[in-house]
Symmetry: C2
Subunit: 384 residues, 2 copies
Amino acid sequence: MNAPAPSALTGRRFEVRYRIQAATQAVAEEAAAAIALEQSVEVPLEAVFDAGVRENIVGRVVSVVPEGEGTFVARVALATDTTGDDVAQTLNMLFGNSSMHAHAQLLDADLPESLVAACGGPRFGIDGMRRLTGAHGRPLTCAALKPQGLPVEELARLCYIFAAAGIDVIKDDHGISDQFYSPFAARVPACQAAIRRAARETGRTALYAPSLVGSPKALYAQANLLREEGVGAALVAPGLVGIPVFHELVADHLKVPVLAHPSYSGSVRVAPAFIYGKLFRLLGADAVIYTHYAGRFAYSQAECESIAAAARAPWPGVKPCLPVPAGGMTVERAGELVRFCGIDSMLLIGGSLLRAGAALPERTRQFVQAVADSAAAMPQGAAA
Amino acid sequence: MNAPAPSALTGRRFEVRYRIQAATQAVAEEAAAAIALEQSVEVPLEAVFDAGVRENIVGRVVSVVPEGEGTFVARVALATDTTGDDVAQTLNMLFGNSSMHAHAQLLDADLPESLVAACGGPRFGIDGMRRLTGAHGRPLTCAALKPQGLPVEELARLCYIFAAAGIDVIKDDHGISDQFYSPFAARVPACQAAIRRAARETGRTALYAPSLVGSPKALYAQANLLREEGVGAALVAPGLVGIPVFHELVADHLKVPVLAHPSYSGSVRVAPAFIYGKLFRLLGADAVIYTHYAGRFAYSQAECESIAAAARAPWPGVKPCLPVPAGGMTVERAGELVRFCGIDSMLLIGGSLLRAGAALPERTRQFVQAVADSAAAMPQGAAA
C-alpha cells in the first residue's frame, strides 16, 4: 500500500494517563500496549502497513509505573493529528473504546494546545462570577429549587426566599427539566421575576440558573428563552446532553455564566479532577458542581482536593473556574467547607436548607452569614 | 407549603433495576432507598412537604433481592411524570446522580410507553437491512476502513476491495472523523464512488457507513453531505456525540440505516444489554456494534447472549435491530460466530482482514464465503 506524503502527518503527540488494574508489571504493560493501539489505529500492529501511520498515528506507551494496591499508571503518547481539534473526536481518542476496558480508568491528559485554543475555557471564570454577583472576599453561596414535582408558583416562591436571604446563585434542581408540572417556558420567567422582586427589595441581584435538559433543538430553544427573559446563568449537565453539545451550547447559544452539573458524567471511570476540573472547565464551565466527601457520595478528601485544585489551576489562556462542592452538604458544615475549599469556591446547599420548612428564610440567612463569618476568620492571605 | 392540585400528577410509575454491591441485605436496602431518593427528588424525605410530591414523585423501592457474590438487584419504581418523555431527562432519572455511586450499576428499565412512542426505534430494523443489502438467510457481513491516518484514496481503495468481494456493509473505523488526512467532505464521495464502481462490476450494492463525529452543527452538516452523495448508511457513537443527540440526528437528519458504535458508551456502569439492545435500539439504531467475548474486551459469553437477545426481542411498535459482535473477531471464528449469534446478526471483522495485506481481496472473499457456508449448515428453523 502507498504511504501518504510524509509531510501530511505532523507527528505531534500529547500525553494521556490511564490507571490500570493489573496483578503484575508485565500484565499492566500488556494492557497499556493494548490501550495505545485501541486508542489510535484500532488494529494489530501487523495490520499497519503504512510507514507514516506507524510512525505518526499509532499510540506509544511512554511508561508504566506501579502505583500500589494492584494499580499502575500508564503514560501513553497519542497523535495530536487524530483529534481533529474536535471535542467529540478528542473524547473518542482519549477513552472511546478503552472505556469498555473494565480495568482501565482515564486519569488525565495534557490536552493539545490547538484544542485548548479552539475551546477557550470559561467566559467569566471566578473573577467574572464575583463581578456579576458582587461577592468578594468569600465563597459564593448557591441554593437549589427542589424537589421536582412542585408547581411553578412554589418554585418561584422558594427562589424569592433564597434571593431575599442573600444567596448569590439559585439553580434549578438538575432533575427539573421541561415536565408538565413546571414547564420551562413558565418556570423561567416566574423564577426570574422572583429574582427581580428580591433585588428591588434588597438592592443586590442574585443569578438564577435554570436547568437546561434535552436534545440540541430543545436546548437551543431553552437558551433563547434565557436570553429573552434576561436570566443571569444556566445549569447544564454535559454528561447528560452530550459533552460536545455542552461546548456548542455554551459557545454559540449562551451569553451568561454556566454551571456544569455532574449528572451521568461517567466520573467513576474518568478521574473527577480531569473531567470536572479540566475538561468541563475547558469546554466553558464557569463553575463545576461535584459531589463532596462525607456527603451522599463516596469521593475521598484527596479526590475533592484534586478537583478544586484542577478547577483553579493556572492554565494559560483558560480562566479558573469555581469548584462547587455539593451532594448532601449542610449549613452546619459551612465553616469546614470554607476552610477546606478556600475563598475561591461556591458552596451549594440543597436539602439541608429545604428541610427547614417554614423556617427556610431564617435558615438561609444563617447559611449566608456562616459563609461570610468563616471567610472573615480565614488567614489574611487566603482571601481572594 | 401548598400542594399542587392532586390531578396535576398522574402517579404513573415505571420500573428500573439496579445492581448494588453491598456486604449485607441491610446495606443493600439502604443503598436502594438512597437511589430511589437520588433518582427522583434528590432531597431527604423530611424535606418533601408536599403530599402530592411524596405520593407521586418520590421513587419507591419495590424489592431488593440477593444475586450472589455480594451483589443485590434492587427494583425501583420511578415516576413517569419526571421523564417528560425526553431522552436526556430519562437518562437523568435512570442514572444521573447514581452514576456517581460506585456501588451501583444500571441494569435495566421498563421504559415508559410514552417515551417508547416518542422515540419509535429503528426505521429499518433487520428486515430493512436485508431488503437494502439483498442479504437473506445468513448474517450480514461488515468490514471497516482503517487504520486512520491513511489518505482518502487509500480508504477508497479498501472500500472498493471490500465491496467487490461481497461485503454487505462497509463502515469507517470509528476513529476516523474529520481529520485533515482524510477529510469528511473528500472521503465520503470517494468511498461512495468506490461502492458504485464495485456495484457496476458485481451487480450488488454494498452500503457505506461513514463515521459521523462532532458537535451537533458538524453532525447535521455531515448528515446533509450523506444525503447529497446518496450514501447508504451511517455510523454514530451515541456515547460520544451525546445519547439525546443520537436520537435527534437519526430522527431529523438521516434517511438511511444507522449503526450504533459503543465508543464512550459507559457500558461498564450500565448493563450492555440495556444500553445497546434496548436504549440505542429504541433511539433508532438499526444495528448495534458491541465488543464480543474472547476478543479484545472482557464481556462474558452470557453478556453477549443477552445483548443479542435484547436487540432482537419482540417489542410492540419497535423493530428488531441487528446485533453486531465485534472487537477482535477473526475470519477463522466466522463459523462459531454464525452459530452463536444466529442468522439475524451482522458479523464485523476489521483488523483480521486487513493484516492480509496484498491478499485482502482473497481473504475478504473467504470471510464472505465462510459466513454463507456456516449459515447454510445451520438447522433449517434457524434461517431468517
